[in-house]
Symmetry: C2
Subunit: 427 residues, 2 copies
């Protein structure tokens, strides 16, 4: 709780609906990574409802324990939007309508052919001593102020408004303020991230054993989720001796080899899309247990229509026969969930669609449909890239419900395709 010795930060998200969760918080990572580049470490995250005295209390607590506070939300025009009032009350400052804030708002509304309502004009009220932070996207301006030797910035909660305001409004002011504190060293820190697939956390752990030299300030993080194991290296941006974060990152990539599928904000579907584009190949899908999820993931990438030709969700056996030409006899002999049927599905979709490569998946997502020899989580992936270019792979996913098994199956299928494309592209 001693804030005098280090550059620490807290985010405060304001809004009663946020107390109930259920939304993906993408702001925290963005804010943490950007503060880190100034040498400021995110240590606390607070969420509080639209209750004036609660917000004031949270602001006071933050001023006691950290040096940098980023407030998001509560800057809208309604009476539930209390960030301005709470900051004014906590700091003992008055709110006044600021010309720069007002002009920016009026200009934004004019672009849309509108004029602000009286309620919307409240958004130009800024606590005395605060600097207006221009909102280049929406109508609500933000503000920054220093109180109790703590840097406060209040921003809208919407990512596409918050993000440019952090970059253009907050960081330059924060850096200038940090520069004034000669006695408190700030070490800019960067984070490098890579993504692995197809192996458990323990294998990633093993491969990276001994990566970090003794006494380094660089930290290694290994985080498992149903879809992947993520690896992060966090440390000083500047070199300190021969060990740099960039060198360790390259070392980690070498150790992981083809377990690693991407870095930074790459996804499995973006990587597969890039490989298909580079090799001028087209793809068709034959999905059973994933129900369309692979197609959905691939088509999240802008421009994917250049390589995704079509997909078939052959949920019933009849659909497998009619749409993919899987023989009823094969289905009878091996069952729909089998390597043989996965192979026939991949070949069928490739041949019928005339694409370069067919990818298939069939499995038991549960909770029903399992037999003694075919448990929930048994999944086969098939790939067909033409004569002599075909393979199948069996997976057994343990634990996790239907939704998790579908996710893991889609990831496994895309990873089979990725590895095949890499071999093909390299050979």
């Amino acid at each position: 709780m001693n804030k005098s010795k280090a550059w620490t930060a807290e985010t405060i998200a304001i809004g009663s609906e946020l107390l109930l969760g259920g939304r993906m918080d993408t702001n925290s990572l963005f804010i943490a990574d950007h503060l880190a580049t100034c040498g400021v470490e995110l240590r606390y995250k607070s969420i509080v409802g639209d209750e004036l005295s609660d917000i004031v209390g949270v602001l006071k607590t933050a001023a006691r324990r950290v040096r940098v506070v980023i407030i998001t939300g509560g800057l809208g025009p309604t009476i539930d939007d209390l960030t301005r009032e709470a900051v004014a009350q906590a700091t003992g400052q008055r709110l006044s309508r600021r010309k720069t804030a007002l002009d920016g708002m009026i200009a934004r509304f004019a672009e849309w052919g509108r004029t602000p309502t009286k309620a919307q004009l409240r958004q130009a009220m800024i606590p005395a001593g605060g600097e207006v932070l221009t909102n280049p996207v929406g109508t609500a301006p933000g503000f920054a102020l220093i109180w109790k030797d703590t840097f406060f910035a209040a921003l809208p909660g919407v990512p596409r408004e918050m993000e440019p305001m952090i970059q253009d409004g907050v960081l330059p002011r924060l850096q200038a303020w940090i520069g004034k504190h000669k006695g408190i060293p700030a070490t800019p820190v960067i984070r490098r991230v890579l993504h692995t697939s197809g192996v458990p956390e323990s294998i990633v752990d093993q491969r990276l054993e001994g990566l970090l030299p003794d006494g380094t300030a660089i930290q290694l993080g290994i985080y498992a989720s149903p879809m992947e194991v993520m690896v992060s290296l966090t440390g000083p941006e500047k070199e300190s001796g021969p060990v740099t974060i960039d060198r360790l990152f390259e070392d980690a990539k070498t150790r992981l080899g083809d377990i690693m599928y991407g870095e930074a904000d790459e996804t499995m579907e973006s990587v597969v899309g890039r490989l298909l584009t580079d090799q001028h190949l087209t793809l068709a899908l034959a999905e059973s247990c994933t129900g369309g999820l692979i197609g959905h993931r691939l088509t999240q990438i802008p421009g994917s229509s250049a390589y995704v030709d079509r997909g078939v969700v052959s949920y019933s056996n009849r659909a497998k026969v009619e749409l993919l030409g899987v023989s009823p006899d094969l289905l009878d002999r091996h069952g729909a969930v089998s390597a043989e049927v996965a192979a026939a599905m991949a070949r069928g979709i490739r041949e019928r669609s005339g694409v370069s490569v067919g990818l298939s998946v069939t499995g038991i997502a549960g909770p029903g449909g399992a037999t003694k020899s075919k448990p929930v989580g048994l999944v086969y992936v098939g790939l067909d890239g033409g004569p002599g270019e075909n393979l199948t792979k069996e997976f057994r996913f343990h634990g996790g419900d239907r939704s998790v098994i579908k996710q893991r199956s889609s990831q496994a299928a895309l990873d089979v395709l990725r590895r095949w494309l890499i071999t093909k592209g390299g050979g």
Copy 2:
């Protein structure tokens, strides 16, 4: 910040990875709803990393401002799991290995044919004065204790472990403790939720205007997200005069009519699945811009193989011709994104698959592919339920990126199907 007058609560989630967000928090809603049934209102949510002094500070802050604290996470076997130590340090109690905790753990490991390691035995360490909370699913026991007249419970962060422990371990103890505080009235509160689709927030707002009578303690919440507008009524469980939360909920449902598609934890895909099951109908999909998302959503529901026969993702025009029998001439004349092609896709998939109803969607998800007359966000949905039973509907989604437009398109298509099924079922 005055905790003496009301039953207020805070959740504290412990784990450095949680500071970076990026995971869906489903715990908060569960905890908030269950605390509310005891008359306890969730007011703060804190997230803190694996730093002992930071956690101790957060615990002390919570004890000052609320009466009930639910801690999640940090109960694992690694040295980064510091919840036990932090609670012991904050409260000035010693940790000791508790027999009930140990026995439970050993029994759980024995079920799996294993014995706990020395590190895992740390999980049986509980602060003095704390009561052990049995974990019916995993290995880490939780605990509950009273400190500074505040009720603390520490639980694993994994939902399937946390949830039964709240229900069976925390709530009975909390209720007993609340019962001892005669001077502080606790009003059990329940929340009723319903979901609407296809109209903006302002329309829902309008329809519900005047729903709440003057002076009622029941609160109305209206929350918009890209997929839906959610309505909640929160208020005392027990009747107070003629206005009860149940009566208002029925009134709200009547006012909203077919805008409402479900209540509580129902989803569009579960509702559509129920309607198809009840009417013994089968479905086939022809998706273009949604890329498989509709199939993915429908097959999230266990047992969906009973009514989802197949789907086709006809991303290319050739796939529309080959798989759905859309005429090249129709594509030339109207373009792939048109009501005519949506109708042909729906008819094609129904006729070729022999199901009861075909559902199609074609549109421009962006960012590319738009023309002057066909902007990003223009989407057509087609439905074909046999001769004389067909319709198309045009949507224009403004704002939002590719992913949001895909989501909204899938929701719109399922809603078209839902409304048709209701009319059919009722007629």
